[in-house]
Symmetry: C2
């Protein structure tokens, strides 16, 4: 499985991905799911992937291989919308190429992507690309997208996140969301890859990797877990009628 | 959709169910999913249902209709294990009866059940009955079961619940779990039906219904939501390396 979240906020973008893949619970491996494209001072395009790993890796490989030509590629498309269309088109190409009916044997070849970033001259953007290759854009009302195992980590985002949340606070929300997901689903796991982008910086950051035992993540997990237990203890006493008394 | 949780703790049992059913988002209705059988001083058997409503209602109707005969029924089976087997057998009977291939048209007729309670002379028990009619029992290690839309509300149970949790505290955990689920999935909704059973009381409580605007539930939701936001604010500051600085 996989869990990726991307946020499009007033101050910039936040991306966090886990790195666990599995083909059955007896076949677990670590693969990066956060991929960075860009030209410093001109554009940053971040891709996150979920679903069939062969499909998503082929899409990323083709996108990288084609960076140095005249045909439309992630280094020359004029807008982020065009970047998302290019990813969708490459996804369709890979799935068609790999889906000989005699070979797929019922395996789900589909992948989904989050595509976010900024190209000089326009505002930052974030797209959620479906396995069909079409996509939707984030808005002020819906400032985040998730792909993969999204449910365990959604309640905290719904409660605590809005368009005006600061990047630092949003990143902490994302870490809590990952902590909840990792605790409830074995197939989502560390390390986490994260990347924070500030509007109009047009930098191409290399992001940060949260490894097992990372001091800050451990501190956040522990303080959050203790805090939740404390909060539960402090809830008002249950009326007798609730307890059937 | 549906969300039901049942807990088997050192001091007794806690059951909470929502009451929203839907056949598409344009066809939403309220149906009780917590059903109580019992003879005061002798036995309590609580059933919670998820899945196809026609199937689960037929199972409950047959179980009620057959209470007054010599054949095995929920008022005369000697053990809770036998009660769970009887529910499973009735489920198979209903699904076979209603599943003429020419009629089901791809509709999923399956239902799942939680069956818990106590029969005089034995300890309380809790079973999670699969759509196939077979079932597993809760244990000290796994003191709760969920059916229906379980993911949004699972992290708080995994963090805060164990076999030795008090009934009152467990009930508050369940209410928080429902709050998270209701916020994230429109197809789970109020009113909630809840029932708390203390070991060896052998009472047949009628439970409590949490309606829209219930003062205690509202107070819990509000205190929890505010507390979470406060906890997030108090988390340690994010290191510069996380922010790519």
């Amino acid at each position: 499985m996989t869990y990726c979240v991307a946020m499009h906020l007033a101050d910039g973008l936040v991306f966090v991905s886990d790195s666990r893949t599995n083909a059955g619970v007896d076949h677990i491996a670590t693969f990066r799911k956060l991929h960075i494209f860009g030209i410093p001072g001109e554009r940053l395009i971040v891709l996150q992937t979920a679903g069939n790993l062969a499909t998503s890796q082929s899409v990323i490989s083709l996108l990288r291989q084609r960076l140095h030509g005249d045909a439309p590629n992630l280094h020359n498309v004029p807008t982020l919308f065009d970047a998302a269309r290019l990813v969708g088109q490459t996804l369709r190409e890979v799935v068609e190429h790999d889906s000989a009916p005699s070979m797929t044997a019922g395996v789900d070849m589909s992948s989904s992507f989050l595509v976010g970033g900024q190209i000089a001259g326009a505002a930052p953007g974030l797209y959620n690309l479906y396995p069909q290759g079409n996509f939707i854009a984030s808005t002020v009302d819906t400032p985040y997208f998730q792909i993969g195992e999204s449910k365990y980590g959604k309640p905290i985002l719904d409660r605590a996140l809005n368009h005006r949340t600061t990047l630092e606070h949003a990143l902490r929300c994302a870490l809590i969301s990952f902590d909840s997901t990792i605790r409830s689903n074995l197939s989502v796991g560390l390390p986490l890859d994260l990347l924070v982008y500030r509007n109009d910086s047009l930098e191409v950051p290399h992001g940060y990797r949260v490894e097992e035992g990372d001091a800050y993540f451990e501190a956040v997990r522990q303080q959050w877990g203790n805090g939740l237990r404390q909060l539960l203890q402090e809830l008002p006493s249950t009326p007798a009628s609730y307890l059937g008394e």
